[in-house]
């Protein structure tokens, strides 16, 4: 689908223009929005990063993961652990104190440095994805069986984190921190800076994903979606490609999770559970899987709709969300991006026909 858009939509020049436009919009957004809205938008942009990552896996390679909440959460915890340690200022984090711990657990140590936390916020999701991918893809577990395993991963992770309250903060998650690298998280300047960081990371993610998708690697991914066995008989090892894209996708989710924590100030098991994992898939499905812009827009629009509905109709907003899902899945199987592509195609056809008509008239054909 993307390919089609690029071919008919615009040249390379036109594409650069779109990127420029998107960057300008993101850059200018703080001028028009309140601090509260800007914070929401920043959160949605973080979601969009995860959506683009998920789209690489599902839209392009055809592997459906219902466990990306875990990777998102692992990134979030990495950042939250660092912030918590900073906030505790050398003493034990409060929840450990309550649980009777007297010493900081060894696995918390690397999170004392910001760099270490950021690195682990990407490396841990990547490692978990590699581990799961190694044992599934190499044994040719795919389709719904793989999807079910990702759900199992969610349940295991949530249970583990909830159960180990002394080490993880349990159901409450990790919260109660106010500073990042010495700047107050609540200060408008910090919020603005974090917004720009998130927007920048989203744009970088987009460019990276585009390079991947346009490369021959990306073509192999789509070929795997079309026929994994045929890929094998061409001499490619599909499991390596599947592991590769799974790791990339999980890493992007981890990055999204880290940024999310900076905007929201809390991470808890409920934010990485089954429902958030499925919600991430819905962003991609409704935005239009197999197109990068669709996935990103899906995350922005759906979360925008969610907060708009819940503000205006606090009692029945969930019904609106449900209706939105049903309408898009029934009438827009290729999502919003698919609708845009079809609309563009139709518009071009009409324009072309208009151009043809006068020629016919000039030649003396009847108008009908």
């Amino acid at each position: 689908m993307t390919q089609w858009m690029i071919k008919t939509g615009a040249s390379r020049y036109g594409l650069a223009m779109w990127y420029f436009l998107a960057a300008a919009l993101l850059l200018a957004a703080p001028l028009f929005t309140s601090d509260f809205r800007l914070n929401l938008l920043a959160k949605f942009l973080a979601f969009a990063i995860a959506a683009v990552g998920l789209d690489l896996l599902w839209g392009y390679t055809g592997i459906l993961s219902l466990g990306h909440g875990v990777f998102f959460g692992l990134g979030g915890y990495a950042m939250a652990m660092h912030l918590k340690l900073q906030a505790s200022g050398g003493r034990l984090p409060d929840f450990m104190d309550w649980s009777g711990l007297t010493k900081l657990p060894w696995f918390w140590m690397p999170f004392q440095s910001f760099g270490g936390a950021v690195l682990l916020g990407m490396a841990i999701p990547a490692a978990v994805a590699l581990f799961l991918g190694f044992f599934t893809f190499r044994n040719r577990i795919r389709g719904v069986y793989f999807t079910i395993l990702t759900q199992a991963l969610v349940i295991i992770s949530v249970t583990l984190i909830t159960g180990q309250q002394a080490f993880t903060g349990g159901t409450n998650g990790i919260t109660g921190y106010g500073q990042i690298l010495g700047h107050s998280l609540a200060a408008p300047e910090t919020k603005l800076a974090l917004y720009y960081v998130t927007a920048g990371v989203l744009l970088a993610t987009f460019v990276l994903a585009r390079i991947v998708v346009k490369s021959r690697f990306g073509k192999v991914l789509r070929a795997i979606r079309d026929g994994e066995n045929r890929v094998r008989f061409l001499g490619y090892d599909p499991s390596r490609y599947q592991m590769g894209v799974f790791v990339l996708s999980a890493t992007l989710s981890g990055i999204a999770g880290m940024l999310f924590v900076l905007h929201v100030g809390i991470i808890s098991p409920s934010m990485m559970g089954i429902v958030p994992s499925i919600e991430m898939v819905l962003w991609v499905a409704i935005g239009g899987r197999g197109t990068l812009i669709g996935a990103a827009l899906g995350a922005l629009l759906l979360n925008g709709a969610k907060s708009a509905f819940s503000e205006s109709y606090p009692d029945i907003w969930l019904f609106f969300m449900g209706a939105l899902f049903i309408v898009t899945t029934v009438f827009l199987p290729r999502g919003i991006a698919g609708l845009a592509v079809d609309g563009w195609r139709k518009a071009r056809r009409i324009v072309r026909r208009r151009k043809e008509v006068p020629e016919h008239e000039r030649k003396g054909y009847s108008a009908v």
Partner: protein, 253 residues
């Protein structure tokens, strides 16, 4: 080179839940030449090809490639990398990729993740792609989605992909199925041409086609080698007539 075997199947047995689709089949192929594999339905022809290309694992016997590489121990993609190409009965191309992209992926190249991330089509490769498009009659359609091609065009695209793989041994399962007479003719000529510098095995049911293009024919029956020879020898053979027509049973009745 000629005279040295590129592939040696010895006593190959393949069983599915106790049913032996291939039982003790022997086959030896030289480095170049066109070999037809025929036999009645259920003779185990396709299963033998599956065993060679790694799709099924033989339960007995050995399949040795070139200088004694045991194919039974290799995975499909490794076997493909060793230079064995396989075409299945139904055309299997990548429908959402363009014709050009299909060919690009098939082209002989490094197939690791890092290699494909950096890969760029060099001018020479571009020319080869264009030449291949010409050969298989798809010039001008390179930007079409492979899924939108007709059945015959898909067959040709797949043949083009196989050729770009530059295999030393090519295994084809009914390549002319669903083609028109003229296309079948063209396929046969192409097969003879490419068999000049590589080994080609063709499973075929169309006897007309076999008669027109075969130099050597191997006949399988009930998972075993029945006989091997030229088409004339095969046609003159009583056992072959018997398995195809059930002659003796008729005579006995």
């Amino acid at each position: 080179m000629s005279g040295k075997a590129i592939l040696q199947c010895k006593d190959v047995t393949v069983s599915f839940d106790g049913f032996k689709a291939v039982q003790g089949m022997n086959l030896s192929l030289e480095a170049s030449g066109l070999r037809f594999l025929i036999g009645p339905n259920g003779a185990g022809k396709t299963t033998l090809l599956d065993a060679i290309c790694g799709k099924v694992k033989p339960s007995g016997g050995s399949i040795l490639y070139r200088d004694g590489i045991d194919l039974a121990r290799r995975k499909e993609h490794q076997i493909a990398e060793l230079g064995i190409g396989r075409k299945f009965q139904a055309p299997s191309i990548f429908p959402t990729l363009t014709v050009e992209e299909n060919l690009e992926l098939a082209m002989k190249q490094k197939r690791g993740i890092l290699a494909t991330l950096r890969a760029k089509l060099a001018a020479a490769e571009r020319e080869r792609l264009a030449a291949q498009l010409e050969t298989v009659g798809l010039a001008g359609r390179q930007r079409a989605r492979a899924g939108s091609l007709s059945h015959g065009e898909k067959q040709w695209l797949e043949i083009g992909m196989l050729l770009l793989q530059e295999p030393s041994l090519l295994l084809l399962d009914e390549p002319a199925a669903g083609m028109t007479d003229r296309e079948t003719e063209k396929t046969g000529e192409l097969l003879q041409e490419i068999a000049k510098d590589r080994a080609v095995v063709v499973v075929e049911h169309d006897m007309e086609f076999v008669r027109n293009f075969a130099s050597l024919v191997t006949v399988m029956h009930e998972g075993r080698l029945l006989m091997e020879g030229t088409m004339d020898q095969v046609q003159a053979d009583d056992r072959v007539a018997e398995v195809y027509l059930g002659k003796r049973r008729e005579a006995a009745c």
